[in-house]
Symmetry: C2
Subunit: 437 residues, 2 copies
């Protein structure tokens, strides 16, 4: 191959097979896509060692994508249920899966899912470090963190979350500007702990060039983590968050110089009136790099319903610039998600992504809605079911409550406006008391 | 009493006991509230015959309220399950309940719920007309529709939906500007049918003064229905919808001249990039009258999840001007909601209302989030549960998945960022492998 990464190829004017596939899926010209990749505005996370990948693009002008989190941990160490989740995520057409495994046979699990998944795979290598070395966090050496990244890269991971923006300077800002919920990013809090316990700079910041070399070699996309994302409505858009974002912007430019693809991770908990400004800030400070958001969750008070609070925030975020939504399940803040929780989370994220795609003018996004509403006006239930984002649930609901007239539903019965308008516009009468077929 | 309606009292400078209660609930000065009521920007739907009412205000500067729909119909004619829903809605603190009964013992049901409900009660009298007269729709005389309204008013209904804006002129506009999903408002489509079948003007428009007399007599708040609300993403913000809104604005002024309180009903299905403009249009064309929205549902493709599509739209709507959200349940477009569907719908609407209240700067709205996040940082699970919007579900989730450490949860276990940050900021070490209390 005469290129290293998708970005390197794009800069050299080479059209890769991944670009061709993505251009076709997105119904855009491959040269326009190539230009966006060369400028860092679109990424195609596609590790050279991920052979089963069906590539997707993330960024400006493309359909909003969603990510599903899963993985084994001390409280849930069995591989099998997590493999079931991977299969379900693929069946439900999630474009990305993050393996957040932190305990047990993480290597075996990672290799297995990379082998079977056409969806891109992401990891947070620091989660795996303690288990990888069987050492307490503070005893891990700076460069050892990089070795974990290299291991993941070699295994075929398409993107890695690295909290390289939590520098000593960011930590000072954090300490000077007290927060209600401190640092809620799991990886960010582990790094903060390591830095405090060792009185050292962030290893990913200190050895950033070495990190870029690893990413370049395998074409791993860097997902620059937001250690200081707000963990409560109270903490959003504060000094720590914005200071870190500035550093992520600097790191983005350094990555692009080595042709490493970059995404930026974003909030978090945030009132809806702040979301639009945050999307602008990311796009400006990080030079148009794709924005990957977790939520935003628009209120803190709804554990059990955070797939809804994040669908609200995600829709607004994606319609004002975010490109990639991390799903949130009803189990957020309470427990590891079950398979059912995962499904609810995926559907809620897909709704947010699609509603945003309509708003941001993605070509063809509205066609799906048009077909559904046409079927609805025609009382064509079979077609409606086939167009539902969750056909299974829609059929189950309707079958549980059979109406008097099989063209209507029990919500309105003979008062169905679709049914009655069709009759009246055809010049017919409607009978609400007597039978009328 | 030396006043007719709350608006009449406000204009005369009289402070009613309803105003006092609302001012206290909203933590605002009663004179400011009175002024808003006098100017039509706030309503207190409070029928003189609804003795069990615990009044609420709806409109500018007040907390966003939510409404729950229920009622008996041909497909579900039993009173008991619907009474259970009323009780559940009250328990979950819905501020309003609309009785949409269309068949069977509607009078008995209506009187029963008015007797037991501290929440305000609304109806759509035209739903009840066919059953009331036991006549086919087209055979009902214009003035007979008004008699149904008077019956409801006498029974103690606090607000009635009246589609008086669907005039002959609006119908012409509708016919000239073809829509994908025609008229989807149930009451609107019935009126359209009646007008077409009888070649007559809308009876509520023709006899609007008589209607106002009824509303004034009992202090029934007029909820001017949007017959032409869009029923698909395709149809939103079109000629029919906006033409009807202009007429509703004219009717608002006529109602205010007779001191009748008015709300305006709004969309519907709508892409999120159109919501803000629609809120502005309503507030301008209808002179600041409170806006009561059904949804907006931000995509057509998610039957089974329309509590989510409408929570997304409702949050954006309420944060940009809507004052009152009609709940939508997961059963929308598929069947009459069950008790469970109703609960999911209520919680989703309450999330939307609260998230919007934070964004629109309602005093004290954020305090709830602050307390929750403080409890979360303190790992105070009992306090968190008590602050949850649905304590029952949150407890159930956590109890189903017990973590190794009872201060964390199975999502992160010992990697809990709250737990670890607390330790590090206290100068302690963290052990992720070994036991550490």
């Amino acid at each position: 191959m005469n290129y290293t990464t998708q970005m390197d190829a794009a800069k050299k004017g080479i059209t890769t097979k991944e670009m061709e596939i993505v251009a076709q899926k997105e119904k855009i010209d491959v040269n326009i896509l190539k230009n966006l990749i060369a400028n860092g505005k679109v990424v195609i996370p596609a590790n050279k060692n991920h052979k089963s990948l069906n590539p997707e693009g993330i960024g400006e002008g493309l359909r909003t994508k969603i990510n599903v989190n899963l993985g084994i941990s001390k409280d849930c160490p069995n591989i099998e249920p997590e493999i079931e989740k991977v299969k379900k995520a693929i069946e439900l057409k999630a474009e990305a899966i993050m393996d957040l495994s932190s305990f047990g046979k993480t290597e075996e699990f990672r290799k297995k899912i990379i082998e079977l998944s056409p969806a891109m795979i992401g990891t947070v290598p620091i989660y795996d470090a303690v288990g990888f070395y069987d050492k307490e966090l503070k005893d891990i050496k700076a460069k050892e963190f990089l070795d974990v990244v290299e291991k993941h890269a070699k295994d075929g991971v398409d993107f890695v979350t690295i909290h390289a923006g939590l520098t000593k300077r960011t930590c000072e800002t954090f300490k000077k500007n007290k927060r209600l919920t401190n640092i809620v990013s799991r990886g960010g809090s582990l790094l903060f702990a390591w830095m405090e316990l060792n009185n050292s700079e962030n290893p990913f910041y200190e050895y950033y060039d070495e990190l870029l070399d690893i990413c370049e070699k395998y074409d791993v996309t860097l997902s620059l983590g937001d250690a200081c994302r707000p963990g409560s409505i109270n903490d959003s858009t504060d000094a720590s968050q914005i200071e870190e974002l500035i550093i992520l912007g600097e790191l983005t430019k350094r990555a692009w110089e080595k042709n490493v693809q970059v995404m930026i991770e974003g909030p978090g908990h945030m009132a809806i009136n702040e979301i639009q400004a945050n999307m602008l800030l990311e796009k400006k400070l990080c030079h148009g790099a794709p924005f990957y958001v977790l939520g935003p969750i628009v209120t803190d008070i709804a554990p059990g319903y955070d797939h809804i609070t994040s669908a609200i925030g995600g829709t607004i975020a994606a319609s004002s610039g975010a490109d990639f939504l991390c799903y949130v399940t009803p189990a957020e803040h309470l427990r590891l998600p079950t398979l059912d929780d995962m499904k609810e989370g995926i559907i809620a994220s897909k709704i947010a992504a699609h509603a945003a795609d309509i708003a941001k003018g993605i070509k063809y996004a509205k066609d799906w809605d048009y077909e559904m509403s046409k079927a609805r006006q025609n009382l064509d239930w079979e077609k409606m079911f086939k167009l539902c984002i969750d056909e299974e649930k829609a059929r189950k609901f309707r079958n549980s409550s059979i109406p008097e007239h099989n063209d209507s539903c029990t919500m309105c019965g003979k008062m169905c406006s679709m049914r009655n308008m069709n009759k009246i516009l055809e010049g017919k009468n409607i009978n609400l008391l007597r039978e009328d077929n």
